[in-house]
């Protein structure tokens, strides 16, 4: 890993931290965790279920909003504001810039998730008073949420490398929604025939499979998660992210910064 990439990553992280909107989103996430406590108190015997469900969903949704919101401007904003000129006129390769930006945003989201996770565990402890062994599965769900963020970050960055922030947001959010129903899309593809089947299958495998990464409900219901699933999801997310980032680098390497 080149040091320049890390410097760019740190600067991206620093920008996010100094961005007040990011603080607002964290505040909202904490507020939602507070709401989870409230709902937990008025629910009878399903406090844990409600708090875990609501808490993890909030962590996921707020993280995705942050990932898209910051990710779509990572490259386009630098081009628009021309801050990129003084970076790329130094011995910085374009791929180092893209990967540095990605690492910076991913780092921001991991730190953000860490603090929101503390909120979720705090809310859970408040409701159930004592942790039990299945609560450790929440960590797996959080890990999958982070994998989800990596994919979203790479997609936002990809769109940001050739499109305007508004279009990038539309593309990234659309892919998130479609990807959340990736299992249904695969099911639909299996029901079709001919060219439709070919297209539906291609689309189903091309969109990110977020439904496989969403284990919130299973964790809330204390269902076991196999090691194989963790391994599969890890490999899938890393492969998808690597492919998306490669595409972003390929596009950005050829782009004229007018």
């Amino acid at each position: 890993m080149s040091p320049r990439m890390l410097y760019i990553a740190f600067n991206t992280f620093r920008e996010a931290v100094r961005d007040r909107i990011l603080y607002n989103l964290i505040a909202f996430a904490l507020l939602l965790s507070g709401a989870a406590i409230f709902v937990g108190q008025i629910s009878i015997h399903i406090e844990r279920l409600v708090v875990v469900n609501l808490g993890l969903t909030a962590v996921s949704l707020f993280g995705i909003v942050i990932a898209i919101f910051i990710g779509i401007g990572l490259v386009s904003k630098e081009i628009e504001k021309r801050t990129l000129y003084t970076v790329l006129s130094r011995p910085v390769r374009r791929w180092e810039f893209i990967l540095g930006k990605f690492l910076g945003l991913a780092g921001t989201l991991i730190v953000n998730t860490f603090f929101m996770a503390i909120g979720v565990f705090g809310a859970l402890l408040y409701v159930v008073h004592k942790f039990s062994a299945p609560d450790a599965l929440i960590l797996v769900a959080l890990y999958f949420i982070i994998l989800e963020f990596l994919i979203i970050c790479s997609l936002a960055l990809l769109f940001s490398s050739f499109s305007s922030p508004l279009l990038s947001a539309v593309f990234a959010f659309s892919l998130f929604v479609i990807g959340s129903f990736a299992d249904d899309l695969r099911g639909f593809a299996a029901l079709t025939t001919g060219v439709t089947r070919w297209f539906a299958t291609a689309a189903a495998y091309l969109v990110p499979n977020f439904s496989a990464l969403n284990v919130i409900s299973a964790v809330a219901h204390q269902q076991p998660l196999g090691l194989q699933l963790i391994l599969q999801n890890t490999l899938y997310a890393l492969f998808y992210t690597a492919m998306t980032l490669s595409a972003a680098v390929l596009i950005f390497e050829r782009r004229n910064l007018k």
Binding site: P3, R4, Y7, I8, N11, R14, E15, R18, D19, K81, R82, T83, L84, Y85, T86, V87, L88, S89, R90, P91, V92, R93, R254, N256, L257, K258
Partner: protein
């Protein structure tokens, strides 16, 4: 070794939404800049100056041609460690302080930690920003941002510095400071390549200039040669508003400005003119050989290109 060798760099953009058509931003450009000189790249707005600079910086890819910077291919990343660049109307990460920004750029340029700390402090002092080094850039004025821009361009001790319109938008004092700084860079042995459309700055600073118009190179030469003496004419300036009748007989073209008179007359009438002023007891202020200004040369080159275009069409 030449500092910059531009070998036929050319840029054509495809414009239009449905039916794309080529639009030339820069016609094949051949230009050489020697080490240690201040080179002015002159042209009106939209002439192709920024496109050329962006191609040299690797921000825009040329349609054809190549270039060598400090003896290496211009795409070689090692070259970039030895050059500095100040874009036109620079905009920096405004959430950073001046100190943080310079430190970040120092990191990207590969300046080692200990050296970087010292260089950042030196640069802040050099551009007069030590007092405000902890202030976020969003609170900086345009002139202060330009100073930050200059500091970041020379922070890593580059051999060659590119400035794109460095005096643009600055007040007279700011322009003077930038001019002094460019002169200092030359004294330190660096090569400076700067684009501008402010001809007085170019005339005062540059060893050589190139004139570009509508993406085409119109002329290159040493400022001293371009502004050489106009053969056989002198400029005589004297105190007062009185124009002796005999001065007109000598063929002088006289213009009264305030309380001085400026006369242009043939060189062989110089002594006779001095005699006339003595006789009339008029105080002579100056007598100098008449030179072509860079502005006159620039206008001539632009008019020539317009005439050529007119004839072509």
């Amino acid at each position: 070794m030449s500092a910059i060798e531009i070998l036929g760099l050319e840029k054509t953009y495809m414009v239009g939404f449905w039916r794309k058509r080529p639009k030339s931003a820069l016609q094949p450009l051949h230009l050489t800049v020697e080490e240690g000189e201040i080179f002015g790249f002159l042209g009106p707005n939209g002439a192709g100056k920024t496109t050329t600079l962006k191609m040299l910086m690797g921000l825009v890819f040329p349609t054809a041609g190549t270039a060598r910077i400090l003896g290496r291919e211009w795409t070689d990343p090692e070259v970039k460690a030895q050059i500095g660049f100040l874009p036109e109307q620079p905009y920096f990460y405004d959430y950073l302080t001046a100190h943080e920004l310079l430190d970040y750029y120092g990191q990207l340029s590969g300046v080692p930690g200990k050296d970087r700390k010292r260089r950042v402090e030196e640069m802040l002092q050099r551009v007069g920003l030590t007092e405000v080094k902890g202030m976020q850039l969003r609170k900086f004025s345009k002139g202060m941002l330009q100073r930050v821009g200059i500091a970041q361009a020379i922070l890593h001790n580059p051999k060659l510095v590119f400035f794109d319109e460095p005096m643009s938008g600055l007040d007279p004092l700011g322009r003077r400071e930038v001019r002094d700084l460019i002169e200092q860079l030359k004294q330190e042995g660096r090569t400076v390549f700067f684009s501008t459309h402010i001809l007085s700055d170019a005339e005062a600073l540059c060893d050589r200039v190139a004139i570009i118009h509508k993406g085409e190179l119109r002329g290159v030469g040493a400022v001293a040669d371009l502004t050489s003496t106009v053969q056989g004419k002198v400029e005589v300036i004297w105190q007062g508003t009185q124009i002796p009748a005999s001065m007109k007989v000598l063929g002088a073209e006289c213009h009264v400005t305030g309380d001085t008179v400026r006369a242009i007359l043939p060189e062989n009438q110089q002594d006779a003119a001095i005699d006339v002023l003595r006789r009339e007891r008029i105080r002579l202020i100056a007598i100098t050989p008449l030179r072509t200004s860079l502005e006159a040369y620039f206008v001539e080159k632009l008019q020539h290109s317009q005439t050529t275009v007119g004839k072509r069409s």
